[in-house]
Amino acid sequence: MRIMLRISDEQGSTNGYRCPSSENAPSYYRARYYDSNSGRFISEDPLRFDDGWANLYLYVTNRPAGLVDSFGLSPNPPMTNPIVPFLMCPWCQQFVLGTEEMWINYKRMEEMKWIKGDKYYHCMGNCLATNAGPGGAAAAQVLSFLRTNVRSRITEPNDWRDDDKANKCGQQGGDCDKRCEQYVQHYSPGKPQFHW
């Protein structure tokens, strides 16, 4: 897979992070990749026939409106958050899941506490939320706006633009691992152990 790099020319930012282009990039669903062009995963379901579906490449058995497959393993009604089963509209479920992704990545940033490593988690939270669907993308945009463009603009006037760039990079979605690792690939001192 070819990843194209571009330099952001956003004014006021102090860093040289480069956000990989999302053109034609398959989306990362933790266990495998999903190609939005064909509407299929590009590798077999690692659970194979255990989930009862004969076609190992289908995404949520071709019914994306009612089911989610956040882990790329099997189609499920979204169950990771206790609120989600009570929400009837898929957009709302995605919004809650997106919020959850943002929160999980915020907590991971706190646990890992690498200096300047927050950019990775800004990117990952936004990317995974965006991949949850239009509702998740909305959650990413709303939360990032409030957290970075409102709060950090006041509390961290010298750093918020860099956070904003990382948010925007993540909001392009796609292969989050690749996108966000490439975004911070030149991070120093030494490449942090981002994975958990």
Partner: protein, 175 residues
């Protein structure tokens, strides 16, 4: 009709999300964490140097280390003590300044850290450094990819006491 109801429901969910986010933001004002280490070895063990919060050129005799930072920003406030006889590595890495660079003319107090000295709060004045027995130094931490940082050190060589404050930016000072 159904479309309108759906839209109204979405607006409600977004409003709920914004309310939750606003609450989280207010709570998030306390994101900064304070850590204390009896020795530099303890700080190393906790990963403070490998994670980049404490510079690796602090004297090996450093002790009574107190550090405050917020993982979502490079800003750092740190106090440490060291043996005056063990100051070579630190001296080698610092650049003495007679005037503070623009980025370091004002320092917010370390939140919830009463040990952060008065002469390093608010609008800084080199004369107040000297009046308290400290000299002022800056260290640039250039990183064109992850964003530059600049560190202000206040060191009392005679008594082996030091403070540093890190913030994004550059000093513009050449060694």
């Amino acid at each position: 009709m159904i479309g309108n109801a759906k839209n109204r429901f979405r607006v409600r969910v977004v409003r709920l999300g914004m309310w939750v986010a606003a609450s989280a933001l207010l709570q998030g004002c306390g994101d900064r964490k304070e850590y204390s280490y009896a020795t530099l070895a303890d700080a190393v063990k906790a990963g403070e140097i490998s994670r980049g919060w404490i510079p690796d050129y602090l004297p090996t005799s450093s002790h009574a280390i107190r550090i405050v930072y917020d993982p979502s920003s490079p800003r750092t406030w740190c106090a440490f003590e060291f043996s005056p006889a063990d100051s070579r590595s630190l001296k080698k890495n610092l650049t003495s300044v007679d005037a503070l660079p623009e980025r370091l003319k004002r320092v917010d107090a370390a939140p919830g850290a009463p040990w952060w000295p008065d002469f390093l709060r608010g609008d800084l004045d080199i004369a107040r450094f000297h009046g308290n027995g400290f000299n002022a130094y800056v260290v640039d931490e250039p990183d064109p990819h992850a964003g530059n940082s600049v560190v202000l050190f206040a060191i009392d060589w005679r008594n082996g006491r030091g403070f540093f404050y890190r913030t994004p930016g550059t000093s513009g000072v050449t060694r």
